[in-house]
């Protein structure tokens, strides 16, 4: 699995390597990266999951970018040039400046790969994919309530410019927005729409919802949307069916919030550190994955 994205360390050059999660930090090639909102939170959630499942950790491709975009461009160009050699089973595209032309070129490179990876996009990589008309080339998007409105808006190229009536919609209208997004071909094959109710949608059909435990404080905590994407990616890499990966991810994130006794001031690494306890207690019940052997083989009961 390869996870690519930017981190808020402006001078960090393009860096590829394996990662480990140490408390409040991610460590990549001996570089410590604070586990805060964004790509670092996503990676940390993935690593917590792959560690628990005893499968290979993800490789990460990171670069520093504080919003000026230079790092993002380096990231796109590297992937465009090298993705057919890297050939990951799962490719996760996360925080970066959304640049439609570079996203188009990246997808062209992916199409040339001898084996197509499972394609997951969140954050502005999802914005770029939608704005470039390439959403349906992806396997999984994980939008929040505003971002599903963005996917459902035929004209918006960024959530800041969505139509006001779409922003005003409440959670009960999510199914309508999901339908509109699929009509516009602005959705990936599978959507996990995060919110008060999490919706798991496959090819336009809502196949499940997750609403318990209800922890409203999670919405305030920077990075808890990123952790869901990290969980989905890890379970997809563990070869669960994608809809199953999404359902377990939604449940695990909520349960970790409950175990952490989340408040609006909780930090995301405190949520992530609960994942092993959540998996130990619930993964067997939720998925049938009850006994884990080393490296990509799991026993089902």
């Amino acid at each position: 699995m390869l996870i690519s994205g930017t981190v808020p360390i402006k001078d960090l050059p393009l860096t590829m390597g394996e990662v480990r999660f140490e408390g409040e930090f991610l460590v990549v090639n001996d570089i410590k990266i604070p586990c805060t909102q964004g790509t670092a939170a996503l990676i940390s959630a993935t690593v917590a999951t792959t560690d628990y499942l005893k499968i290979d950790p993800p490789k990460v491709l990171l670069v520093g970018d504080n919003g000026e975009g230079m790092g993002s461009r380096l990231l796109y160009e590297y992937l465009i040039k090298n993705i057919s050699d890297l050939l990951p089973d799962v490719l996760v595209l996360h925080y970066c400046l959304p640049i439609m032309d570079l996203m188009r070129r990246l997808l062209e490179s992916v199409e040339r790969c001898s084996k197509r990876p499972i394609m997951i996009a969140d954050a502005s990589s999802m914005y770029a994919a939608k704005a470039a008309g390439l959403a349906s080339k992806f396997d999984i998007f994980t939008p929040d309530a505003t971002e599903i409105a963005f996917l459902a808006d035929p004209d918006a190229t960024h959530p800041a410019y969505i139509n006001r009536h779409l922003f005003d919609t409440d959670v009960t209208r999510t199914p309508e927005l999901v339908d509109a997004a699929y009509q516009l071909k602005s959705a990936a094959k599978l959507l996990l729409v995060k919110g008060e109710i999490d919706y798991v949608v496959e090819e336009g059909e809502i196949i499940d919802t997750v609403s318990e435990p209800n922890i409203p404080e999670l919405e305030a905590i920077g990075g808890t949307g990123d952790t869901i994407t990290g969980l989905v990616a890890a379970f997809a890499y563990a070869e669960l069916e994608l809809h199953e990966a999404a359902i377990i991810a939604a449940r695990a994130n909520r349960m970790a919030g409950k175990l952490a006794r989340a408040t609006p001031g909780t930090k995301v690494w405190q949520i992530i550190s609960q994942f092993p306890a959540v998996f130990k207690e619930y993964l067997c019940e939720w998925s049938g994955v009850c006994y884990v052997e080393s490296n990509r083989s799991m026993s089902l009961t």
Binding site: G38, G69, Y95, D122, T146, A160, A220
Partner: protein, 161 residues
């Protein structure tokens, strides 16, 4: 970006290229034409950093208009009260502060590369002491976070939200 005069558009392009922005001079679509026959095409998400650069370099422009859609930035906010904290949401950007102390507890949402940076700059600071996202961010996500931040400040000054 639309301009009153051709020379302003040319100056804008030069300033932007000098700051490593990827932009080009284009003819504005007739429906959007408000000034001269020349516009600068930018990546809309970079709007905020570009506008700040123009203020610093004294570049005049008329307006930023998306090629698609109504062109109005989402201005409305939604407010959620927790037990001791208030969360303000603008677009998909959220800022949460402690109603007793005015300390920023969390910032979340969006997906642009400056948001994790802004998160680190804002957390655990008092609203009145923290830097404004519009002063240190570069993207539309940062602009929306600033909108949420501004509302938090208003609520705090009114008595804690």
């Amino acid at each position: 970006m639309l301009f009153e005069k051709v020379e302003e558009a040319i100056k804008a392009e030069k300033v932007l290229k000098g700051a490593d922005y990827v932009v080009k001079l284009v003819a504005p679509p007739p429906t959007l034409r408000k000034g001269c026959d020349l516009a600068v095409e930018i990546n809309l998400v970079e709007q905020m950093g570009i506008e700040r650069l123009f203020r610093q370099k004294d570049v005049a422009y008329l307006e930023v208009v998306p090629l698609k859609g109504g062109g109005e930035l989402l201005e409305i906010v939604k407010i959620t009260n927790f037990k001791e904290a208030t969360m303000v949401k603008a677009g998909n950007m959220k800022v949460t502060f402690d109603r007793d102390t005015g300390i920023i507890l969390n910032a979340s949402g969006g997906g642009c590369p400056d948001i994790p940076y802004l998160h680190a700059q804002l957390i655990d600071k008092k609203l009145t002491d923290a830097p404004r996202p519009k002063e240190i961010g570069f993207t539309l996500c940062a602009l929306m976070m600033d909108r949420a931040f501004e509302e938090c400040l208003l609520l705090w000054r009114k008595g804690g939200g």
